[in-house]
């Protein structure tokens, strides 16, 4: 029974990781940039969700604000920060992104104060009893949202014109362009989708811990990197599997190996072990 509960908790945590990591791996797949500032968009989503929810009382409005603000900020980051330095070596964008993330963290502190914010009336707190597990409505909603988002993304990529253009741009940019695909439009699309998901993840973290803080992006900023590497860098399906696997490893690890290694170290030990066996990531071929 406890094992089942730990497994479910791991999958819930994993679905959160997945929502954050998908945007990161999409960006990497397209631009080969390790987009650390992505974690800042996650924080932005969290802050706007709490602020809007407290002002309007509407969870729908909060979700919309979280997704829209993160999506806009994400596209702005692409246009103003990454696009001009795409032809430079990868560490240039990496350090630019780190600088941006640090600056974003500080903007949140200066605008919203150092103490963080909490919901006045936390939404989705109702306990849901299923299979003898005690879960919160928010946890189920997060897992369901992640599932729907991933399924939607898959359908979009495989069954729409824009989706085909996108996949073509990732796999064969030159050929795609010669067939009249506008790569810039596709890039905006990637930032829009990935950032909106990060913003939504910010909302769910705010709901589950009932707080947002300027530094809440710190852990996602590096753990999402571990996930996309585990997934094979740029491979969306791989990242999804890696996110869930890491969630489960952490759930069992923190309980049964907690006095050997802490949570972060466990996650990275897992990552290094996998990479030594499969340098291309969990699902990577070759």
């Amino acid at each position: 029974m406890l094992y089942l509960e730990l497994l479910v908790q791991g999958l819930i945590q994993g679905s959160l990781y997945a929502m954050i990591a998908v945007g990161l791996t999409l960006v990497y797949g397209m631009l080969r940039i390790l987009h650390i500032a992505h974690a800042g968009l996650f924080t932005l989503g969290g802050y706007l969700a709490v602020t809007v929810m407290n002002a309007t009382g509407s969870l729908g409005a909060a979700a919309l604000a979280a997704m829209a603000s993160a999506a806009l900020a994400g596209m702005a980051i692409y246009r103003l920060a990454y696009q001009p330095i795409l032809d430079k070596p990868p560490f240039v964008a990496l350090v630019a992104s780190i600088g941006l993330y640090i600056a974003l963290e500080e903007v949140f502190r200066l605008v919203f104060g150092p103490y963080g914010l909490a919901f006045a009336q936390p939404p989705l707190q109702t306990p849901v009893a299923a299979l003898g597990l005690s879960l919160k409505a928010g946890e189920l909603a997060m897992a369901a949202t992640a599932l729907i988002a991933m399924a939607g993304l898959y359908a979009f990529a495989n069954h729409t014109r824009l989706g085909t253009a996108w996949r073509a741009t990732v796999d064969e940019p030159q050929i795609a362009e010669s067939f009249g695909v506008n790569p810039v439009r596709v890039r905006y699309l990637v930032f829009l989708i990935g950032s909106a998901l990060a913003g939504l993840a910010g909302l769910f973290v705010a709901v589950l811990s009932n707080q947002v803080e300027p530094t809440m992006g710190a852990v996602p900023s590096y753990k999402a990197l571990a996930i996309i590497v585990l997934g094979g860098l740029g491979d969306v399906r791989g990242s999804l599997v890696a996110a869930l696997a890491l969630g489960v490893v952490e759930a069992f690890g923190t309980i049964y190996l907690g006095d050997v290694l802490d949570r972060d170290a466990l996650a990275f030990a897992f990552m290094i072990a996998v990479l030594m066996l499969r340098p291309q990531g969990l699902l990577g071929g070759r």
């Binding site: 430079k88 560490f91 990496l94 350090v95 640090i102 590096y222 802490d262 990275f268 340098p279």
Partner: protein, 282 residues
């Protein structure tokens, strides 16, 4: 010179060694590391434990370099298996693994760190002179390596590993050597840090430190010794220079990292180098 300047310049000297040590790995050999602070920490812990066990200062420093360098060579071995961004994130993982191991090891002080590290046996001005001398040696060594045959091999690997291999360069050996030398020098910086603060704890060797060292290297102009030294001095002084805008100084720091990369991706070296070329042309 007052105690304030002495302590500030000592920190600068230590950071210069640390940044130059990463420059050997990431700048010369092209292997981006996001976990360099781990080797800084390994050096600090090795020196601190040896010092507390009664070894003289010089022996502690050498030991710190040997321990950090050996473990660094091991991580260099990883770089044979994973490449590019995979490697960057694997080294980041090594950094977190280091923190996790120290955290759960009582003989390494765990969460409490190591206190009462014996004095190095110099007064503060002499210690500063020693640190600056080490920094100068490391800078000279960096210049020497760059001009040596090994520097050329590193350069070829940084450019394109596969081509370097075709050209008959032993890629594996050179990569491991770059990691071993770079991490041993990080160990030197760590030992000097341990004897400077006389206590060490996990907080000083985390991901944030790894990132700030990488920032020093990249802002300076990756691969350029003088650029990296300049950027290190500047970035270390930043919190002091920006005290008057206390509340905004971290914002300015982040903004500066971004702005330099966005508008001068070659870092200080390219910025100043470009300026000189333009002057000569005019």
């Amino acid at each position: 010179m007052g105690a304030y300047e002495l302590s500030l310049f000592t920190v600068i000297g230590i950071n210069v060694i640390l940044a130059l040590s990463l420059n050997l790995i990431s700048g010369y050999c092209g292997q981006i590391s996001l976990g360099h602070a781990a080797f800084y920490g390994i050096g600090a812990y090795a020196a601190a434990l040896a010092g507390k066990a009664g070894l003289p200062f010089a022996a502690c420093v050498v030991l710190a370099m040997v321990v950090a360098g050996s473990l660094g060579a091991l991580v260099g071995g990883i770089s044979l298996r994973v490449r590019h961004d995979f490697l960057a994130i694997t080294t980041m993982g090594v950094g977190f693994l280091f923190l996790g191991v120290v955290r759960s090891s009582d003989w390494l002080g765990g969460e409490l760190g190591i206190s009462q590290i014996p004095a190095a046996g110099f007064d503060k001005p002499m210690y500063l002179v020693l640190v600056l001398a080490c920094a100068a040696l490391v800078a000279a060594f960096s210049v020497y390596i760059k001009r040596s045959w090994m520097g050329a091999a590193f350069d070829a690997i940084a450019d394109d590993e596969d081509t370097a291999g075709v050209l008959g360069i032993d890629v594996a050996r050179n990569k491991i050597v770059a990691f071993a030398i770079g991490t041993a020098l990080a160990g030197l910086a760590g030992a000097l840090y341990a004897y400077y603060t006389r206590f060490i704890g996990l907080d000083s060797f985390g991901f944030v430190t790894s990132i700030s060292v990488l920032s020093m290297v990249v802002i300076g102009g990756i691969g350029s010794v003088w650029g990296v030294v300049g950027a290190t001095v500047l970035l270390t002084l930043m919190p002091e220079l920006f005290r008057f805008i206390n509340d905004y100084k971290l914002l300015v720091y982040g903004g500066l990292l971004f702005a330099v990369m966005r508008f001068a991706p070659g870092g200080l070296a390219a910025l100043i180098g470009g300026g000189l070329t333009r002057l000569r042309r005019a």
